[in-house]
Amino acid sequence: MDNNLKRSIILENYSNPFNKGLIDDPNYEKVNMNNESCIDNIDIMINIDNNTIKDIRFDGEACAISTSATSIMLKELIGKNIKDALYIIEQYENMIEERKYDDAVLGEAIVYNEIYKQPNRKKCALLPANGIKKILKNYVI
């Protein structure tokens, strides 16, 4: 993917993030991701039913990379079962951390495949993955 296209996907997800804004619904489980190494602060809420991610929403104040990565990650994960979702997250983390990864499952998230070139952005890109994983882990038997 060329850099201009990557940039415009990131910017689009930053300006018009998917599912931004929390709702009051007891079927959702919530986690706050206050990035310990930077200043991003994101709340994520997930509705899981029958081992499947029905919905994820988020809100918060965060940089362009964290916000867009959360927006993109949400779109990729909704509708997946827990096992597939965790697999996608693992591949995403591998990509950010420069390990071998399966790019077939990453969809739009592939736009961050060169974020390792900016080490100070890696933690931002990983923020949503860490948050969602925290909740999903509770569902793995």
């Binding site: 200043i39 991003d40 104040e61 940089c63 900016q118 931002c124």
Partner: protein, 397 residues
Amino acid sequence: MNRDDFPMLKNNVYYFDNGATTLKPKEVIASTVDYYENYSGNAHRGDYDISLKVDNVYENVREKVRAFINAEDASEIIFTSGATQSINMVVNGFFKHNLKKGDEVLITKAEHASLALPWFVLEKEIGIVIKYIELTNDMEVTLDNVKKSITNRTKVIALAHVTNVMGDIRPIKEISKYAHANNIYVVVDGAQSIPHIKCDVKDLDIDFLAFSAHKMLGPTGVGVLYGKYELLDKVIPTNVGGGMNTIFTSLNEYNLKGLPWRLEAGTPNIAGVIGFGSAIDYINKIGIDSISKHCAELKRYAVSKLSNLNNIDVYNPNTEGSIIAFNVRNIFSQDTAIYLNKHKICVRAGNHCAKLLKESLGINNTCRISFYLYNTKEEIDYLIKVLDNENILEESL
């Protein structure tokens, strides 16, 4: 000013994060290395020449610090690991034993975590009550607002002399005078003021003062706790061990040394203290008043240039300290800082450890520029050129 003295500046960086830490001149680095290479030994321990030299140099720095802040006696100067440790020592070694449930401590919402959190913990532990002095619209502290916050239970006023986000200078002398007339202790966080403005602890009549060497050209890991002798003498050591006792027996009899050693248990950061001494020499050579003037001029210059750009909001154009809090409009502060980093400009983004300030300021995160003596107008011109760009967000990615 004297940019050649700072090896870091050869690395082609535009360093505007002096509020976080300052760069070190060659003299400071050299004196630290000299200790390790030529007279490495412990202090207060040996009977050999090298150890004696360590003692002399180390105690000589204590005298330099005394003179720098015009304390009455060198025994009122305690070396710590930094302002944070100094404040914790005062809160836990003195106030924990001298305050009781219901006693009120006044702070502000603009304080750094290291000044605020020790009191938060004490509130939980012994039930003191933290109250906040109201800030003006410019986030400043006035004597009037201090007076309004005082009740007959107020026992302590603890605040920064200069704040690390807005850079306002608090009227410490007036506050101390009023506080002492009402039997209230005054604890001052000098982390941002001692490097920048003349501070005379006797004239300001401060009870306890904390600051860090690394924010004034010195090494990291060294700081100072100053206290008036009669108060400092009542600080219970939160650290006990070697170097601070005169005797101990298996019957649990022990005797502690006098000030300052009682409050410096264990081997101190000798190399750091020695480097700190060189930092004070360096500042004295230039003159603290020249440093103040230089930084104030840089701030005025930068604020006026920034105000010519139509994409920048400056939150503290008028404060006297040489700190500028700003945002590029509609851009998250961290994205701005990362964009600037791509142009070799170092600024800090975030809440700057003053997490309560958003409750008053209404803004969560800012970019912070903070100057020191080696910054120049040319560097500011470069910063302005880089900020004069409509595509900062795009280029930050």
